[in-house]
């Protein structure tokens, strides 16, 4: 009887829940309107010849997708995106893990070094890229000036204009910017590894390397999954650095998929074509991220 009373007193949609729902609905509505609906609309627009400005457009079927597949420019952007996405994910994670291990061992001034490592992450990618653009300028930049002053003029390069190295320079700058968060996540996980496990391994005679590979590494497998996923997604959608440093040049050589979408959709009045490229980018991000996650999760289970 009392249970029945309880049900009556606490209906499924109590006033408290409605109030909470009241807080959620506006944000949800904004998210739907600003993110989900436009995203779905992108699929529709990818089948049109819309110029992005006019009120009218015509449906062209899968013409935009056919053009994308046949476009050498697009595949160059895909290659760059893969280099930056996978490259930055691997490099950032290796460096961040090493730095986190060093920070974890520190007994003094840990706060200072943590701050120093994290500081670059506080600067926006746009600002950081602008600073690097000045540093790497061929004629006036500090990097080449120092090299010339050191008697190494042959080492001076057009870092942002040499098509054979420019994508690797962007990769370097990207890694420099994005490492702070990754390091902190690793550090937090390292500090949560149970000390008794490490001590037990040491008592059993395990070397430092063996302790790391057999105890620490499996225990931070979850952090590796999270960090690799976040770094890959950040790499797939790299835009600011490319816009500031090279505008995709010289020529088209450093265009990434995100930049390509922006360029054709906004600069070349081909919103339909750009939308189709965005859909392809979405598929690449989903497939690669899910595949990488599946592999890493499997490793977590094995651990």
């Amino acid at each position: 009887m009392s249970a029945i009373t309880e049900v009556r007193v606490r209906p499924r949609f109590s006033r408290g829940r409605l109030a909470m729902l009241g807080f959620v609905v506006p944000a949800l509505a904004i998210y739907l309107l600003m993110v989900i609906v436009p995203s779905l609309q992108t699929v529709q627009l990818s089948l049109t010849d819309w110029d992005g400005i006019s009120d009218d457009y015509a449906y062209v079927g899968i013409q935009n997708y056919e053009d994308i597949v046949a476009s050498g420019r697009f595949w160059n952007a895909v290659r760059n995106t893969l280099v930056l996405g996978l490259g930055s994910a691997l490099i950032i994670n290796v460096i961040s893990l090493v730095v986190a291990l060093m920070l974890d061992k520190l007994n003094h001034a840990q706060g200072f070094f943590r701050t120093a490592v994290y500081l670059p992450a506080l600067v926006s990618a746009f600002i950081m890229a602008t600073i690097w653009k000045y540093l790497l300028n061929f004629n006036f930049g500090s990097v080449n000036t120092v090299l010339r002053d050191m008697g190494l003029p042959e080492w001076a390069r057009d870092w942002l204009g040499d098509s054979s190295i420019v994508i690797w320079v962007i990769l370097f700058i990207t890694c420099f910017t994005l490492g702070g968060n990754t390091t902190l996540i690793y550090l937090a996980n390292l500090q949560s590894v149970p000390q008794e496990l490490i001590e037990a391994a040491r008592i059993d005679g395990a070397s430092g390397a063996k302790v790391f590979w057999n105890v620490t590494w499996p225990m931070i497998a979850g952090a590796v999954t999270v960090n690799m996923t976040l770094a890959m997604i950040a790499g797939w959608v790299i835009f600011d650095q490319v816009l500031v440093l090279t505008s995709g040049g010289p020529g088209f050589v450093s265009e990434t998929m995100a930049f390509f979408i922006y360029k054709v959709g906004f600069g070349e009045y081909r919103a339909g074509f750009g939308s189709a490229a965005a859909v392809v980018l979405f598929i690449v991000v989903i497939v690669s991220t899910v595949a990488a996650n599946a592999y890493m999760r499997k490793r977590e289970i094995q651990a």
Partner: protein, 448 residues
Amino acid sequence: MHNATTRSARSRLLLATAGLATSVLALAGCSGGSGDEAESGDKTTIRFLYATGDDTWNTVVDQVVTAFNEQSDTTEVKLDPLPAGSDYATALKTVDATGNWPAVVDMRDTLTYVNAGKLAPVPDEVTELLEPDAFAPAEDGNVYTVPYSALNGELGMNIVYNKTYFEEHDLEVPETYDDFIDLLDEIKANGDVPLATAAAEVWPSDQLWKPLAAPVFAEYSDDGGFWNAAAAGDAAVADLKAPLEELKMIMDNYVLEGWQSTADAQTTTLLVNEQAVMATSSAGLGRLMDINKVDPEFDAGLFIIPDEDGKINVLKNSVVGDTAGGLAISSQAAENEDEYASAVEFLTYFYSVDAANLMEKDGWISPNIVGSDEVVRNDTIPGAEDFFALLENPNLVWYENAPTLSTFSSVNTFFRQSRIEMQDGQTTIDETIAKVQAELDAQVAAAG
């Protein structure tokens, strides 16, 4: 005692209202609206969107707007500059995507925006201040853009050079294309770098290309222009092979290293620092003014690369409203009576003698206004005599090349990037021609 389950209806209502208010605020923030376009006190505030370029143009805009604001009782114009180096067409499209058009806009790709109904007609009270040949109506009979400088076409697309160096080495301004190559050879033989140019932004790549391609473009001037002929199949990108070969040869042999990442404005510094004897420019008098500001002692001159016969071919499209850039009033502003009136008031001032004198004083050649006779011309800028001499040069040949293809800007941007790619050695000239022809064909087909 209060807790979550015993909270009164009043407090719940208060919380719900607060949540709703927060979301409304967020939505209001997202909606953007008309931004700064608003009536503040007795004055209507409007925005003027323009592309920042060389220092001279930036100063002109700033001083004209400041002077206008000081004398106007009804309008305040706020500057909305787009930073140098940005792709202005892309930025303009982004402005459109946000639905936040300024009242007065420095237009590019005008036809696209006219067709989309984004621009309002410029009224007679503005066009009456201009000489009749300084503007023209679009196909629908309305005038959508009015000029922001004198009608000298691309006369400002020059080679700026170090006059002192020329005098010291007994060098002459070239009278033919072969003379120009000889000049480059002589400077190189002296152990100096002949030419600085820029391609960090895409558009400055035109500065060396257009004078080289001008003889070919000029051949099609009477037939509607090269690009219209190419769109109709009466010309082909392959017809530009010879100037592309000249471009590649000059880039490979005479241009200062690092051009791929050099910004347009940096070529002034490279010239003044004597890292190169000449530099490409598209700012005409403005570039001379900039050089003078950087180093008042530097003796600069300018010339245009002539063709093999000594003709100086310069683009000067007829002022058809469809393709000409210039200042425009946005349709969004025209929906508000006050904003439209303020935009008209500003343009009326822009074409006054007072504004023209301000422009001339800053080194800008003012638009062709009816009151031109009262304008005090500025011939004090070192090297300015070279610019004005070009206008009197008997070898000067004006040609037209105004594309009517509404998506030509896509082709043009693609061509610029492809040229840079070719100049850099990433592709061959034949590959570049094939790519650009394919792009042109695709755009023509898409335009129907």
